[in-house]
Amino acid sequence: MHIVACVKRVPLTDIQVKVAADGKTLDTAGVEYMLSFYDELAVEEAIRTKEKLGGEVTVLTLGPADASKELRECLAKGADRAMVLPDNAWGTRDARSTAKALAAKVKELGAQLVFTGRVATDRDQGAVGPMLATYLGWACVTDVVSLELTAGGGKAKRETEAGVETVQFSLPAVLTCDKGLNEPRFAGLKGIMAAKKKSIEESTAEQVANQANFDKLELPPPRKEGRILGEGAAAVPALIQALRNEAKVL
């Protein structure tokens, strides 16, 4: 089975956000990057699935041509191939054009199973996985926390407001990975050496123009200055008072 793990490079989670001069985008000067947290889970699940059911894992990213540091890490963990669809506008790509480009490539690769992250921690959309599946006409389960796969399909669990759902699906499928699904491995020395010999493939993406407009980017309004009401249990009456009379939430 050919398995694809879709990964995206995102800013580190603890960056101090600055808005660029255009007032619409992130000022990327000095920003350092990582693979999105959930995409690590997608790569891990792809490799585990290959180890169990056999096949080949391709890690796929639409992004900067120099994403090789992140991709090499995936190769070192056990992915067979790594492919970049170079896109200079990757930072501002909307979900639809990203999903369309990935769908075209997944089809071309002849994959049967795609893992993505639940959400990329830059735009916080959680849209590309289910859109990719919809464009491909495939089954999709989002926010997967546990997975049982067989040759023709599988069962996945996801956590919702109502409880834990079990979803039965057919293959081919796109599964988006949530925390709890697995613990990503670290790359071993052997893997790191082997990855050095592999090349990172560059391929072209279907160019689809953005539809969504990013009109403005702002820092969140600072929360108004709070108050320390006091120390220890003695401050409890003041808190009750404030919650009832000022904040009106009690």
């Binding site: 979900a95 089954a139 759902e165 403005k216 820092l219 929360r223 320390i228 009750i240 939430v249 009690l250």
Partner: protein, 315 residues
């Protein structure tokens, strides 16, 4: 008049609050609102929706087990038939899953997890990105404005409307089906939906002391228990309770953080809460920078006193 289609979720035969908020956001725009409901309780849910501004309710029939892909097809078909200008869902697990599928079927771009919408001129929305460290204003996205709305950010509007109920056979081609839902034990509220969240962190020292957090939540009556990643990773609390960048994003009326330092990734998940209270023994903890009210003190002393005071206040 334009039409907005809203997918409405329910718990049993009661529509979910977050879905009523989405209906509220739709009727606020002045459009004619069409609600879509599905599941075995569809007809009962439909009856309640006229009072919340739905001019028409479409009940999908024959779909006792939920299929996200089939439901997406039905919603997209309804949007097309009614030539609707917008499609809205609650940004719940189900809504977040459904929206991008419907958007793709309409070949539109979804705007996920919006915290505000503006309808004057062309529709636009605001949505936190980079885990709430920045707020983006977004618009466009193709012919139909597709958005999911963060719970607790929009008001449900009690507004009598026709509430005409029609039925429609649900799509039978299904690639994925929910075959089981194991309900949460008891009637526990989910952190994403609850109007009040009481969260505990490593300052509680041991999993057993979360009973103090649970007691406070119980005293409020409508509160859910949340947790920092540190205690979830330690296995003290389930992942479903984690608040933050790699957990749930919540925006309750009241968020109480106990023994939580306030790391940037935690703040990401709760900084849009209406009122934030912090209880921490370290006066320099970053959580106090975002808190409206703070108590510097030992959780083991403050929590029991606060629980008793809330009980007394609730009478």
């Amino acid at each position: 008049m334009t039409t907005i289609v809203v997918f409405v979720e329910s718990a049993g035969s009661t529509p979910r609050r977050a879905s009523l908020e989405a209906l509220g956001a739709a009727s606020q725009s002045g459009a004619s609102v069409v609600a879509v409901v599905t599941g075995p309780n569809g007809p009962a849910v439909a009856k309640a929706l006229g009072a919340f501004g739905a001019a028409q309710v479409v009940v999908l029939t024959g779909a006792d087990q939920y299929s996200p892909d089939a439901t997406a097809k039905d919603c997209a078909a309804i949007v097309c038939e009614l030539k609707a200008s917008a499609f809205l869902v609650a940004a719940s697990s189900t809504g977040k899953d459904l929206l991008p599928r419907v958007a793709a079927l309409l070949d539109c771009t979804p705007h996920c997890d919006c915290t505000a919408l503006r309808w004057s001129g062309s529709a636009s929305g605001t949505r936190p990105i980079l885990a709430g460290k920045a707020i983006a204003t977004v618009s466009g996205g193709g012919g139909v404005f597709c958005a999911s709305l963060r719970p607790n950010c929009f008001a449900a509007v009690e507004k009598a409307a026709a509430g005409t109920v029609t039925t429609r056979a649900a799509s039978s081609a299904r690639l994925a089906v929910v075959v089981d839902v194991s309900a949460k034990p008891g009637t526990k509220l989910d952190v994403k939906e609850a109007p009040i969240v009481v969260s505990g962190g490593r300052g509680l020292r041991a999993p057993e002391s979360f009973s103090l957090v649970e007691d406070l939540a119980a005293a409020f009556g409508t509160a859910a228990v949340g947790a920092s990643r540190a205690v979830v990773d330690a296995g003290w609390r389930p992942h479903s309770e984690q608040v933050g960048q790699t957990g749930k994003t919540v925006a309750p009326q009241l968020y109480i953080a106990v023994g939580i330092s306030g790391a940037i990734q935690h703040l990401a998940g709760m900084r849009t809460s209406k009122v934030i209270v912090a209880i921490n023994k370290d006066a320099a903890a970053p959580i106090f920078k975002v808190a409206d009210y703070g108590i510097v003190g030992d959780a083991f002393e403050v929590l029991p006193a606060l629980t008793a005071a809330v009980k007394a206040a609730k009478g």
